[in-house]
C-alpha cells in the first residue's frame, strides 16, 4: 500500500472500525475478504509472462512516462474491489453510530436487556432442541457480540416476571446467567413484564448514568395467549401506553424463536366426577384431553396411575382442535389421600401431557348439623329435616354416605370442626366472635359451611360479623356470600334453576327439573349480592337469589335464603329437598382436598397440629429432591408452607414418622399455555403493539442497527450500501476502460 494511503486512510479506517457500533460484529470477519482483490492482483503480477525484447530503450521511455499513472491504474481496480468487499462486509455487520463502546470506559456503552419468554410453550421441541435453547443461543450471541462498555440485564417473562440480572457490566456473569435460565411451567404475562422492563431501565440509569442507549431483546415464540392477552379496554390502553413509553426509551427488538404449524396435545383436566369419593363405591375420574394442533391424533394412549401404579389405559382419537373426554372408573378399597396421575405422552411438548390430582377417599362424609333451635322431639328441631335428608340410605348398597351429628351452636367452639367435612348451620340466631373465628379457620382449611336461615336469624348480626371484612373473629375474611336483607313473603311463585348450570343442581337435570321448579318457597330473606365474580347464584326465586355460594379460603360457603323447617317454608317437605341437601353436602365436602390440588406458582400450604409443628417437616418434590419445611405457629395450629411450587407433579409433605403424617399435593399446569397458536408479526404491529416501533427477526436472522442508527442520525447501513453500489458501478467502468487497452 502506498505510504500516503497508510498515513491518511489507515487511521481513519481504524477509527471507523472502533467508533461505530456493530449489531453483528462477527460479520466483520468478512473484512478479511477485502484483501482478496489485492492478493489476486499481487498473485497475477507474480504470474506474469516473460519475453525477450529488443527495443528496451523505447519501452523504458514509455514506462517512465506512464509510471505514475500506471502505478495508479494498477492499484485502482484492486483498491476499488477491496473497498467494495469491505463496505459490503461492514454493512452486513450492521453499523450504527453513537456506540463508542470499545473505546469507552465501562458503563458508557449500550444497555442490552435480554427478556426471555419463560412460558412453558418455550419447552416445545420442533427438532432436537427446544425453543428455549434457541433463545439462549441467540442471547449468547448478542452478549458475545457486545463491547466492553456494554451493560447487560436479564429478565424472565412468566406469570410473575422477574429480573434475573440487573445492568451488569460483567459479560461472563451475563453468559452464566443465560446458561442458568430455565423455562417455567407457567404461562407468561406481558403487561406486568413491561413494568419489570421499565424498572430495569430506571435502575440501570441510576446505576450507570452514562449508558448511551438501551436495547431490549425479547426472545419469545410469539404465542398468542402471551402476546394477545385478554384485557379490558382501559387496561389495554394502559398497556399500549406503557409499551410506547418503553419503545421511546429503548430499541425494542423481538427475536422470534417459534414457528408455524406446532401441534400439541395436553391433558387439560382431571377430576372426580362426583366428589367426594367414598370407599366401596366406584369413583369416576374424568379426564379431558385437547388436541391443540391441526392434525388428527390417532390411537393416543391415556394412562391412569394411582399412587404411582399403572391402573388402566385407554386409547383415543383426537380430532384437530377438539377436546375429548376420557372417563376412568375405579373403586378404592381403603380411605386415604390418593395421588392420581394421568399421562398421554408422545408429542413435542411433554410438560402438559401429564395431569395430577389428590383425592381424599373417605369411608363416609362427616357432617355436623348445628341446630339453632334444638328440640327433643323428632322433626321438631330446625336441623332435623337436614339430618334426615342426609341419613337417607342410597341404593343399591344401602350404605350410609353421610355420618351426621346434630348439635347446638356451642359445638362451633367446643368441637374440633376439622373432624367434619361440612357443617350445616340451621336457623342459628346469632354468632359470637369466637364462633366466627372458628368458622373462618374451618373454611380456611377447606371445610364447607351451609347456612339455612330461619325465624331466629338476626340479620344485623349476620351482616356485621359474617359479611364485613375486619369485623368479628373472621379477620379480613368475609364468610357469607351475600348480605341479608329484609324478609320477603309471597304466596306462590316458581323457582328458577338458572339452567341447572350449578353443580349442586346437576342431579335435577333432565327428569327432575319439574320437581325442583315446583318446590314451594313462601318466605325468604332478600339477599344483597356483592359486586364480585366469586359469588354464584345456584337457585333464584321470583328474580331474587335464593341459594348462593362462593369459595371462602380453601372451603366453600352455601347460603340458602330460606329455612330448612316447614314452619318457615314447605321446602323440607318437598321431594326436591333431600337431593338438594345431599348435593350441597357433597359440593362443600369436596373442598377438603382443594388445598392439596393447586396450580404451578401457587403456595403449597397445610395446617398441622401444634405438636406436629415441633417436629421437622420435609417436602419431597417431583424430582425427588427433599426440602426442609419450617412450621409457622398460629396458636392452636401450625402452618407448613413451601415457597412457590414451580414444577408440576406430585409433592409429598411428611410432618411425622407415620404414614398418617404424610400428605400428598398435586401441582398442575395452567393449560392455557398449551395452545401453541402464534400471533403473526403483522398482527403484532397492527393489533398488539400498534404505533410502537420495534424490529422483528427470526432467531436465524440478524438485527441491523436500523433503530439505533436512525436515532444516531443514521441510515448508515443504507449509506454503506449506496457506496457499495457506486463502487460496483465504478468497478465496471474501470474494468471497461482499462480492460480494453
Amino acid at each position: 500500500m502506498p505510504a500516503a494511503a497508510k498515513r491518511f486512510i489507515m487511521p481513519y479506517a481504524v477509527w471507523i472500525l472502533f467508533a461505530l457500533g456493530w449489531t453483528d460484529p462477527p460479520m466483520l470477519g468478512w473484512l478479511a475478504a477485502a484483501a482478496a482483490p489485492i492478493l489476486i492482483h499481487l498473485f497475477s503480477r507474480r504470474r506474469r509472462r516473460e519475453t525477450g525484447w529488443a527495443a528496451m530503450e523505447l519501452l523504458r521511455a514509455a514506462v517512465q512516462k506512464r509510471s505514475r499513472r500506471m502505478r495508479f491504474e494498477r492499484w485502482l481496480l484492486p483498491a476499488v474491489r477491496a473497498m467494495l468487499i469491505a463496505i459490503v462486509a461492514a454493512a452486513a455487520a450492521g453499523p450504527y453510530l453513537g456506540s463508542t463502546s470499545t473505546a469507552s470506559s465501562p458503563g458508557r456503552g449500550t444497555h442490552r436487556i435480554l427478556l426471555f419468554d419463560c412460558s412453558y410453550s418455550m419447552s416445545y421441541k420442533p427438532a432436537d432442541r427446544a425453543r428455549f435453547d434457541l433463545a439462549k443461543e441467540r442471547a449468547r450471541l448478542i452478549v458475545e457480540a457486545s463491547f466492553s462498555g456494554d451493560a447487560f440485564s436479564l429478565a424472565a417473562m412468566s406469570r410473575r416476571p422477574r429480573t434475573v440480572l440487573s445492568a451488569s457490566l460483567d459479560r461472563e456473569a451475563a453468559l452464566r446467567a443465560i446458561d442458568d435460565m430455565r423455562p417455567s411451567e407457567q404461562p407468561a404475562e406481558l403487561p406486568p413484564t413491561v413494568a419489570v422492563l421499565r424498572r430495569i431501565i430506571d435502575d440501570a440509569k441510576k446505576k450507570h448514568p452514562l449508558l448511551e442507549r438501551t436495547e431490549i431483546y425479547v426472545l419469545s415464540d410469539l404465542q398468542r395467549t402471551t402476546w394477545s392477552p385478554e384485557l379490558s379496554p382501559s387496561a389495554r390502553a394502559e398497556f399500549i401506553d406503557a409499551v410506547k413509553a418503553l419503545a421511546e426509551s429503548a430499541s425494542l427488538r423481538i427475536v422470534d424463536v417459534g414457528g408455524p404449524g406446532a401441534d400439541n396435545l395436553a391433558v387439560v383436566d382431571l377430576r372426580p366426577l362426583d366428589p367426594p369419593v367414598l370407599t366401596r363405591r366406584p369413583a369416576t375420574l374424568r379426564v379431558e384431553l385437547k388436541n391443540f394442533g391441526e392434525n388428527k391424533i390417532a390411537k393416543q394412549n391415556v394412562d391412569l396411575l394411582i399412587d404411582g401404579r399403572a391402573i388402566d389405559r385407554k386409547k383415543i382419537d383426537l380430532p384437530p382442535g377438539e377436546s375429548v373426554e376420557v372417563v376412568f372408573s375405579h373403586a378404592f378399597d381403603a380411605p386415604g389421600e390418593k395421588s392420581i396421575e394421568v399421562a398421554a405422552m408422545g408429542d413435542r411438548l411433554e410438560i402438559d401431557n401429564r395431569r395430577y390430582c389428590v383425592l381424599s377417599v373417605r369411608g363416609e362424609i362427616n357432617v355436623l348439623c348445628v341446630d339453632g333451635r334444638p328440640s327433643g322431639k323428632r322433626l321438631d328441631g330446625t336441623a332435623d329435616y337436614v339430618a334426615l335428608a342426609l341419613d337417607v340410605r342410597e341404593p343399591p348398597a344401602g350404605d350410609a354416605k353421610f355420618n351426621v351429628e346434630t348439635a347446638d351452636e356451642s359445638a362451633l367452639v367446643e368441637r374440633d370442626l376439622n373432624e367434619f367435612d361440612c357443617l350445616f348451620l340451621c336457623n342459628v340466631a346469632r354468632f359470637t366472635d369466637a364462633e366466627v373465628r372458628a368458622l373462618a379457620a374451618y373454611l380456611q382449611r377447606g371445610g364447607g359451611v351451609i347456612f339455612f336461615l330461619g325465624d331466629q336469624v338476626q340479620a344485623e348480626n349476620y351482616n356485621r360479623l359474617l359479611c364485613t371484612p375486619g369485623q368479628g373473629g373472621a379477620g379480613g375474611m368475609k364468610i357469607l356470600p351475600a348480605r341479608l336483607g329484609r324478609l320477603i313473603e309471597r304466596r306462590r311463585f316458581r323457582l328458577d334453576p338458572l339452567g341447572f348450570q350449578h353443580p349442586i343442581l346437576k342431579t335435577f337435570r333432565g327428569r327432575g327439573q319439574n320437581v325442583l321448579t315446583a318446590t314451594p318457597v313462601f318466605k325468604y330473606f332478600n339477599l344483597e349480592l356483592p359486586e364480585d365474580a366469586e359469588t354464584n347464584v345456584v337457585l333464584a326465586a321470583a328474580g331474587d337469589p335464593l341459594i348462593v355460594e362462593r369459595p371462602m379460603g380453601q372451603g366453600r360457603v352455601v347460603l340458602a335464603a330460606t329455612a330448612a323447617e316447614p314452619d318457615f317454608s314447605p321446602l323440607p317437605l318437598w321431594p326436591s329437598f333431600v337431593p338438594l341437601v345431599r348435593e350441597m353436602a357433597d359440593y362443600c365436602a369436596a373442598g377438603r382436598t382443594r388445598r392439596q390440588n393447586i396450580m404451578v406458582g401457587d403456595r403449597l400450604e397445610m395446617f398441622v397440629a401444634p405438636a406436629a409443628a415441633e417436629a421437622s417437616a420435609k417436602l419431597v418434590a417431583p424430582d425427588k429432591q427433599v426440602h426442609r419445611l419450617r412450621p409457622q405457629s398460629l396458636g392452636d395450629r401450625a402452618l407448613l408452607s413451601y415457597g412457590d411450587a414451580i414444577e408440576s407433579g406430585l409433592y409429598l409433605v411428611k410432618f411425622g414418622s407415620s404414614t398418617e403424617d404424610e400428605r400428598p399435593f398435586a401441582v398442575n399446569l395452567d393449560t392455557s399455555e398449551s395452545d401453541l397458536a402464534r400471533i403473526e408479526p403483522a398482527e403484532l404491529r397492527t393489533e398488539t403493539w400498534p404505533d410502537v416501533g420495534f424490529q422483528y427477526r427470526t432467531h436465524q436472522q440478524r438485527f441491523d442497527a436500523a433503530i439505533g442508527s436512525e436515532r444516531a442520525g443514521g441510515g448508515l447501513h443504507a449509506f454503506m450500501l449506496c457506496c457499495a453500489l457506486g463502487l460496483l458501478l465504478s468497478d465496471t467502468l474501470l474494468s471497461w476502460k482499462y480492460g480494453r487497452k
Partner: protein, 297 residues
C-alpha cells in the same frame, strides 16, 4: 554461379528479383559498361565476357558483331573493371535475435536472407559485393569482389556467427566509413535500436566518404504493434535491465515512442540523402526487396 545456402537463398525468389538490378544513384568509382556512372573515363578496356542484354543497358556496350552473328543482343563485359561496389553491413547483435510469436523468423534470419539475396543480385550483375557483420565491433569483414564464387564467402560469414553482444552502431559506422575503400553503395541491415544521434553521425561519415547509404531497418511486427496484454517481464536482449510492465497500460505510450523514434531516424536519413526502407519480418521478403529495388530503378 557459385553454390549458395538453401537456407538463405530462394532460387525462385531470386529469379524473380533479377528483374530489379541494384543501381547506384550516385557516381561510383569504377564502371564496366556504363550502368554505373564513373568519375574516371576509359578506365577499363580488357574484354571479359558477354552477358545478356537487359532493357536499360547502355547501348554503347552492345556487341553489334555478335548481334550480327547470332541475331541476339549481348553486352560486352570487362574483367576487374566493375566499378559498383556494394557493401552489405549486417547487424548481428543480440537484439536481432528477437522473434515474436506472430513472426515466421527472427529479425536476424530475415536480415541474413535479405543480405544474401542482395549479394546474389549484385554478383549476378557482375558488380562487386562485400560483407561486414558487426555488433559493438566488427565481427567479420569480407572484402568486395565480383566473381560469383565470392557469394560462398559471404554466405559462409553469415552462417558462422559468433556469440553476439549489444549493438553500438555509431562507432562501428565511423570505423567502417574509414575502412571501406572505393565509393559504392553501403547497405545496412539492422533494427537500428540505438541512439539516433549516434547512428546519424555514423551514417553521415559514410556520406562524407561519398558512399551511397541504404538503411534497411528490420523490425518484428510485435515491435511495431506491441500486441501484449498480460503483465509481462521484458528481458533485454542486449544486457539491458529487465522491465516489468502492464503492456495494456503502456501500449499507447510505447507506440508513440516508437513512432517518434522512427520519424527522427527517417528525417535524419532524408536530410543526409540516405535511402530508408522498413522491412517487417512477417511480410514477404521478396515483396519487400522488389518494392525497394523497383523504387531505385
Amino acid at each position: 554461379m557459385a553454390e549458395y545456402s538453401p537456407r538463405l537463398l530462394d532460387a525462385e525468389m531470386l529469379a524473380r528479383l533479377r528483374r530489379f538490378p541494384l543501381r547506384a544513384r550516385r557516381v561510383v568509382e569504377g564502371c564496366v559498361s556504363g550502368r554505373h556512372r564513373s568519375p574516371f573515363h576509359g578506365f577499363s578496356v580488357e574484354f571479359a565476357e558477354h552477358r545478356d542484354y537487359s532493357p536499360g543497358d547502355d547501348l554503347r556496350y552492345l556487341d553489334w558483331k555478335a548481334y550480327g552473328r547470332s541475331d541476339k543482343y549481348f553486352l560486352k563485359r570487362f574483367e576487374e573493371e566493375t566499378n559498383l561496389v556494394c557493401h552489405l553491413l549486417l547487424d548481428v547483435s543480440g537484439s536481432m535475435d528477437y522473434r515474436s510469436e506472430s513472426a515466421p523468423m527472427s529479425k536476424l534470419d530475415y536480415a541474413r536472407r535479405a543480405a544474401a539475396s542482395l549479394a546474389y543480385l549484385v554478383l549476378h550483375r557482375q558488380d562487386g559485393v562485400g560483407m561486414v557483420t558487426f555488433d559493438d565491433e566488427i565481427r567479420a569483414l569480407v572484402r568486395p569482389a565480383g566473381n560469383p564464387s565470392h557469394l560462398n564467402d559471404i554466405l559462409e560469414v553469415m552462417n558462422d556467427l559468433p556469440q553476439r553482444r549489444k549493438t553500438s552502431l555509431g562507432p562501428i559506422f565511423h570505423d567502417l566509413a574509414e575502412r571501406l575503400g572505393r565509393r559504392g553503395i553501403v547497405i545496412i541491415l539492422s533494427d537500428f535500436f540505438d541512439d539516433v544521434d549516434s547512428i546519424v553521425a555514423g551514417l553521415k561519415h559514410f556520406r562524407h566518404r561519398r558512399q551511397e547509404v541504404v538503411l534497411l531497418q528490420v523490425l518484428d511486427p510485435a515491435e511495431i504493434d506491441f500486441p501484449f496484454d498480460d503483465p509481462t517481464l521484458f528481458r533485454g536482449l542486449e544486457e539491458a535491465e529487465d522491465i516489468s510492465a502492464d503492456p495494456a497500460s503502456i501500449r499507447a505510450a510505447y507506440r508513440a515512442e516508437l513512432n517518434r523514434y522512427l520519424r527522427r531516424l527517417q528525417a535524419a536519413c532524408r536530410a543526409a540523402e540516405i535511402d530508408y526502407a522498413r522491412l517487417r519480418t512477417d511480410r514477404s521478403l521478396e515483396a519487400a526487396l522488389a518494392g525497394y529495388l523497383a523504387s531505385r530503378v
